[in-house]
C-alpha cells in the first residue's frame, strides 16, 4: 500500500521568550491511501503541531525541519505557491472548535464555494450548486436554504459539518481531523464521527484522526500512532496496540480508561514534561514505572516488535513480562 502522506524526521521548534521550544522532535508517520489513522497523545504531545506543520499553517515563530511528502510532493521548504496548491486540494484539515473556525461575516455556501474555486475552474453558479451538494453530503437538512445562512445561525454540530464539507470540497487525498469532536456535546460527537466515517467511505479519502480519546480510536481507526513529548512512542494496527501495548506510556493510557471488570482507574503518575527542557533520553522515563538507567542515555527510535513498532528500549522484555495485562 502506498503512503499518501509521508512524514520523515519532522522537527518543529518555536522561538519563545524563554528560549527555543522543540515541540516536535523527529516524528516519522505514514498515512496510507484510504485508511483511518488515529494519532493519540496528551495535550502538548505535539500531535496537532505535527499536522499544522505539514499543512504549513504554523506561525512565523516556528521552524520546521525534516520532510513532509503529500502524494510524492515535498512540502518542507517548498515555495508558498506550491504549498497553497496542496492545501485544500490534496490535504485539508478540520479544526477543534467549529464555533470559531468559520468566518462570521460570509455566508456558509460562499465559504464552501471559495474552497472549490480556489482549486478548480468553476463558475460562481456551479460552485454554489456544488456547495449545496456538499452540505447535503455532510447531512445538513434543507441544504439550499442553509447555504444562504451565516455561521451564527448554525449550532456547533452543524457548523462542524460545514467545516467538514469545506474540507472535503475538493476530495482531498488526506483529511486531517484535529480533535473534531472535543468541543461538542457527547451526543453530537457520535454524529460527527459518523459523518466523517461516511464521507470517508464514500470518497475513499484517508483520514487522520487526532484525538486523546482512545474510545474513539478503537471505534473508528484502522491504525494508531501514539505520541509523547513530541515523539512517536508506538504505532501499529489498532487491534494489536489495544490487545498488547508494548510501550509503558501506551499501557498507561489504556489503564487509565474505564474497563469492564476493573473497579478503579489507574491514572499515569506525574505530568507531561516541560518542553523547554525535556528530560534526556526517553521523555517518559520520569513517569515510567519501568525506567532503568539506560533510559536516560538513549533516545529510542521506533523498532518493530511483533505486529507493531515501539520506542521503548525494554519493549520486548516488558511485552513478555506483562502479557495479558
Amino acid at each position: 500500500m502506498s503512503a499518501v502522506l509521508e512524514i520523515r524526521d519532522l522537527r518543529v521548534t518555536f522561538a519563545t521568550p524563554l528560549g527555543d521550544l522543540e515541540a516536535v522532535r523527529g516524528v516519522d508517520l505514514d498515512v496510507r491511501a484510504g485508511e483511518v489513522l488515529g494519532v493519540v497523545g496528551e495535550s502538548g504531545s505535539g500531535k496537532s503541531v505535527t499536522f499544522l506543520a505539514a499543512m504549513g499553517l504554523l506561525p512565523a515563530t516556528a521552524t520546521v525541519r525534516g520532510s513532509v511528502r503529500v502524494d510524492g510532493v515535498e512540502l518542507v521548504g517548498a515555495p508558498p505557491k506550491e504549498m497553497r496548491r496542496v492545501r485544500g486540494r490534496l490535504m485539508s484539515m478540520i479544526f477543534q472548535d467549529p464555533l470559531s473556525a468559520l468566518n462570521p461575516v460570509h455566508r456558509v455556501g460562499a465559504q464552501i464555494a471559495e474552497m472549490l474555486q480556489a482549486h478548480q475552474r468553476m463558475t460562481d453558479r456551479a460552485a454554489a450548486a456544488r456547495a449545496v451538494e456538499l452540505l447535503e453530503l455532510v447531512g445538513i437538512p434543507q441544504p439550499a436554504d442553509r447555504a444562504r445562512q451565516y455561521p451564527h445561525e448554525f449550532s456547533g454540530g452543524m457548523r462542524q459539518r460545514v467545516v467538514i464539507a469545506i474540507a472535503m470540497a475538493n476530495r482531498p487525498k488526506v483529511l486531517v481531523a484535529d480533535e473534531p469532536t472535543t468541543a461538542l456535546d457527547v451526543t453530537v460527537q457520535a454524529q460527527i464521527l459518523e459523518v466523517i466515517q461516511r464521507v470517508q467511505a464514500e470518497t475513499g479519502t484517508a483520514v487522520v484522526l487526532i484525538t486523546h480519546d482512545l474510545g474513539v480510536v478503537a471505534r473508528v481507526c484502522d491504525r494508531v500512532q501514539v505520541m509523547y513529548a513530541g515523539r512517536s512512542v508506538e504505532r501499529g494496527a489498532v487491534h494489536a496496540i489495544f490487545g498488547r501495548p508494548t510501550h509503558p506510556y501506551t499501557r498507561g493510557l489504556l489503564d487509565s480508561l474505564p474497563h469492564e471488570g476493573l473497579e478503579r482507574l489507574t491514572p499515569i503518575a506525574g505530568f507531561p514534561p516541560n518542553m523547554l527542557r525535556p528530560p534526556s533520553g526517553c521523555a517518559f522515563r520520569v513517569r515510567c514505572p519501568h525506567a532503568i538507567d539506560a533510559c536516560g542515555t538513549d533516545v529510542p527510535d521506533l523498532r518493530p516488535i511483533g505486529e507493531q513498532e515501539s520506542a521503548c528500549i525494554r519493549a520486548s522484555e516488558l511485552a513478555r513480562a506483562g502479557d495479558g495485562r
Partner: protein, 324 residues
C-alpha cells in the same frame, strides 16, 4: 433592516430635543444672554429688551422659554446676533461650509492613511515597521493639535519665507486678504496646514485601531481555516482579515465625529480659518446666545446622526447583530 433604521431615527428626535434642552439651560445659566445683550447694547430701550427676550425664548421659566425658542427655531424665525445685530444663518452657513470642507478632507485623508498604515504595521507585529508606526502614532495622539499647529505655523509662516523667500503654505484664513471670488487653488493651499494638523490626529487614532483590530482578527481560528483552503495570502488578508477587522473600525469612525469636531475647533482657531470653531469661540466669548444655539443644534444633530450611522453600519457589516 428598514424598520430598525426607522425606529432609530424616531428615537433620535426626542434625544435631540432633550439634549438641546440641556444645552439651552446650560447656556442660559452660563452665558446669561440678557446680560450679554445689555453689555453690547447698553442703551437698549425696555421694549427692545422685551422683544429680545421674546424672540430668543428667554422666559424666566426654562421649560416655557425652551418651548418658545424651539417654536421660533423651527419656524425659521431666528433672532439676530447680539453683536452687530446680523442675521445668523448666512454666517453659520459659511462657517459650516468651510468646516465641512476642512473636516471632510482631514477625515478622508486621515482614515485612509490611518487604515493603510495600521494594516502595514499589523502584518509584521513586533517588526521594525510596526514599532515605527506604533511609536509615531503614539506621538501623534499624545501631542495636542494646537502644539503641532503652532509649530507648523512657526515653520511655514516665519521660517519658510525667511529661508526660501516664498510662502509655500499660507497659515491663516481661507483666502489672502482682499481676495474676491472663488479660487480653488488658493483655497486648497490655505487648507493644507489645517488639514494636516487634524489629519495627524485622525491618522494616529485609526492606525492604532486598525492595527489592534487586525491583529485580533489575524489570530482567530477562521483565519487558519481560510489559510488551510490554499487561497492566496492576499485573498486571506482582504476577504477574511480586513472584512472582519474593519467592522469595529468603521463603527468607531462614525462615533468619532465629536473628537474630530473638537480637533477642528482648536485647529481653526490657530489658523484663523473661518469655520465652525472660530464661529463658536467668538460667539461664546461674547455670550452671543442667538449665534450659539443654532450652532449647538447642528453639532448635537451631527453627533446623533453619526451615532445612527455607526449603528446601521455595524448591523450592516456584521451579520451576527440581530436587527429587531
Amino acid at each position: 433592516m428598514l424598520r430598525y433604521v426607522l425606529r432609530r431615527v424616531l428615537w433620535a428626535i426626542p434625544t435631540l430635543l432633550f439634549i438641546t434642552f440641556l444645552v439651552y439651560v446650560a447656556l442660559r445659566t452660563g452665558t446669561d444672554p440678557v446680560k450679554s445683550y445689555l453689555r453690547i447694547n447698553p442703551r437698549a430701550t425696555k421694549a427692545k429688551i422685551a422683544q429680545y427676550i421674546e424672540v430668543n425664548g428667554l422666559d424666566p421659566n426654562y421649560v416655557r422659554g425652551y418651548w418658545s425658542w424651539l417654536r421660533n427655531f423651527v419656524t425659521g424665525n431666528w433672532p439676530r446676533s447680539i453683536k452687530g445685530s446680523r442675521e445668523v444663518w448666512p454666517q453659520l452657513k459659511d462657517a459650516l461650509a468651510n468646516s465641512l470642507r476642512l473636516g471632510a478632507a482631514a477625515t478622508v485623508v486621515g482614515i485612509a492613511v490611518g487604515i493603510f498604515v495600521g494594516v502595514y504595521a499589523a502584518l509584521k507585529p513586533g517588526g521594525r515597521r510596526d514599532v515605527a508606526v506604533n511609536t509615531s502614532a503614539f506621538i501623534g495622539i499624545s501631542i495636542p493639535p494646537y502644539v503641532s499647529a503652532i509649530i507648523l505655523q512657526l515653520l511655514f509662516a516665519v521660517y519658510w519665507s525667511r529661508w526660501f523667500g516664498d510662502t509655500l503654505f499660507p497659515t491663516s484664513g481661507v483666502y489672502p486678504p482682499g481676495q474676491v471670488g472663488f479660487d480653488p487653488w488658493l483655497m486648497a493651499k490655505h487648507m493644507v496646514l489645517p488639514t494636516l494638523v487634524v489629519a495627524i490626529q485622525v491618522i494616529a487614532v485609526y492606525a492604532r485601531y486598525m492595527r489592534s483590530s487586525l491583529l485580533d482578527v489575524l489570530s482567530s481560528d477562521f483565519m487558519r481555516t481560510a489559510r488551510s483552503k490554499g487561497i492566496s495570502e492576499r485573498r486571506v488578508l482582504v476577504r477574511h482579515g480586513m472584512r472582519n477587522a474593519l467592522i469595529p473600525v468603521v463603527t468607531i469612525a462614525a462615533l468619532d465625529v465629536g473628537a474630530i469636531v473638537g480637533g477642528l475647533i482648536i485647529t481653526e482657531n490657530v489658523f484663523s480659518y473661518p469655520g465652525m470653531g472660530v464661529y463658536f469661540l467668538s460667539a461664546f466669548a461674547q455670550g452671543d446666545f442667538p449665534l450659539l444655539m443654532p450652532w449647538m443644534v447642528i453639532i448635537v444633530a451631527s453627533v446623533l446622526l453619526f451615532n445612527l450611522v455607526a449603528d446601521i453600519a455595524y448591523a450592516w457589516l456584521d451579520p451576527r447583530i440581530r436587527l429587531g
